[in-house]
Amino acid sequence: MMGLLAWAWVFTLPGLVLTALGVPRDRRYAGYASLAGPVVLLVVAVVALLGGGSSSVAFENWLPFLPDGAYRALADELSALMLAILGFVAAVVYVYSLGYMADDPGKRRFFVYLDLFVASMALLVLAGNLAVLLIGWTGVGISSFLLISFWRDRPGTLSAGLQALAANAVGDGALLLAASIVPTGCGPLVTLSTQQCAAGPGGAELLALLLFIAAAAKSAQGPLYFWLPNAMAGPTPISALIHAATMVAAGVYVLVRTHALLELAPQVSLAIAIIGTATAIAASLASVFQANFKKGIAYSTIAQLGYMFAGVGVGAPFTGLFHLFTHASFKALLFLAAGIVIHGAGGRESLAELRGLGRFFAFSLWGFLIGSLALIGTPLVTAGSFSKDAIIDAALANQPVIGWILLLGVTMTGLYIGRLFGIVYLAPAADQHAVHHDPSAERPMNWSIVPLMLGSIVLGYLGNWLRTVLSGPLGPMEPLPPVPNLTGGLAFTLGALGFVVAVWYVRRPEYAAAPGETSYRADAWVRAIADAGYAASASLSRIQSGVLTRYVFGSVVAVAAILLIRVSLR
């Protein structure tokens, strides 16, 4: 089965061609031709994962201008797991989209883009060397752009898509550089840590740093976070599939895949842990102040990716991967549940307009509740607790300061998700007449999120099994902490506390009177940073006077200073 899986990126292409050619002709059934692709992908990936083993495909000298320009695809247990996640969430999202996009004139185009995305994502996961990884990497970036800017005529969608492209271009550049500096014969992605690879210019550190920059751009970490909240301009199913479950997790996947290389570069690992932690805290804080429902969840995604990065950075890559696995399920659930309300409210997304409307959508209410509980990490009954506690535990053991910050950060998780849940689902309805039920469109949406609900509950129990299965491609992995344990209980208590406080706060009538009241306080911080930048550039730009003699004087002084420093350092 692994042999077949190595060609998994082909699975959605027949659907792409058929849908693009307008099969079936009846517009009501547009997109049905694409449905088989992700299901086949899911089945093949699961069977291959259960069967184990590995299989690779290689065509030598395919891109002769690169040091390692062969086409290499590698299907092993890790790729099978990622493809199973991709197939699972994609299958759910395809069915959901049949309802969500039912009345959209661009439905066919939507499914064609979706197929393109799944194909590129599969290629990314199957990549056996950097050259193929780069192709998949760029492919998902382009399909992400196409889908963010899907509603071309709405204001802001194009600029949001271009921002995503720009951020991804930083990562693509880093990856291209990495692909150019690996010496010939360095071997596939899994063995980037060999002596020969580290012999390239800059050694293992530079290679690891470039991979980290690429991963940070894809996973919206550190300063490259900015595109993800704006990517919410796209349709909600896209936010769930691409910007929560699969594509943004690609960065974590690559870091896990090359974790042996990170072990050779301890400083880069530490940087990953610090940046992941800082991003997790900052994004949680930003989420509390969002005025837009989907952006609130988007910042939550950035924060959870931060937790994964921190897990990888503290030397526990499996915990990061495990959190990726459970997070894909519950974050897609949160987005799709939110999408049901947004669809029912005629595309409104602001929290002020959606206030209290969630209670009219039972599936959405329960889906969002389960997703929230998994996000906080409710022990035993949700998947999130297993993986998030594993990260916090590993961090406490290896980098105690980071561990404590991550542990306390769960309070923020509870606050922001409790705020969203309280405003949309528990508060008294602001405007009941804004709700329009459309049973034929709602049915596929409602039932498609049921598998995600089940996944958010049970997937955590697969942890130890996954650890055994993945010991082949990843080597021996750190053990998972038993559940329930003390840290997990503490984290849950903090998170639940935040959740309850937030729900209480937003349900007060005074909050409803001024729903936008707190929305822009976070912006003040961002604006302060921007103002500082402007002030610095205003004072520095005075140097650019246009007076040539001053320029010459500056150059002479600078050259003299450089020479003096060099001589004195000798």
Binding site: R542, G546, V552
Partner: protein, 100 residues
């Protein structure tokens, strides 16, 4: 003083003259000439180094510098002429229009 020392001192002296000239002159053509002097000082050093180390191919680098200097002079003179046509003052500081 050895002959190498003499050439070295000449090169340093030429470079100093050139850089002071580039700093003090405000006439564009005079500045260009000063830069040429600095380039020639650097060229002299290259030839000297090639001689001392016995590297024949290093001397060819000096030829490249000569060509570069010629190209630079062509562009620089063209710019100076264009500037003079527009401003009618042969003063480089009077021509500053950028407001930082």
């Amino acid at each position: 003083m050895s002959s190498e020392g003499l050439v070295l001192a000449t090169a340093v002296g030429l470079f100093a003259i050139g850089s002071v000239g580039a700093l003090l002159h405000r006439h564009p053509v005079a500045m260009l000439m000063s830069i040429e002097v600095m380039l020639n000082a650097a060229n002299l050093l290259i030839v000297l180094g090639a001689r001392v180390r016995g590297l024949a191919d290093a001397e060819s680098a000096a030829l490249i510098v000569l060509v570069l200097a010629a190209a630079e002079a062509v562009i620089g003179l063209g710019l100076a002429l264009a500037l003079f046509r527009r401003k009618l003052v042969p003063d480089i500081d009077e021509a500053a229009e950028v407001r930082g």
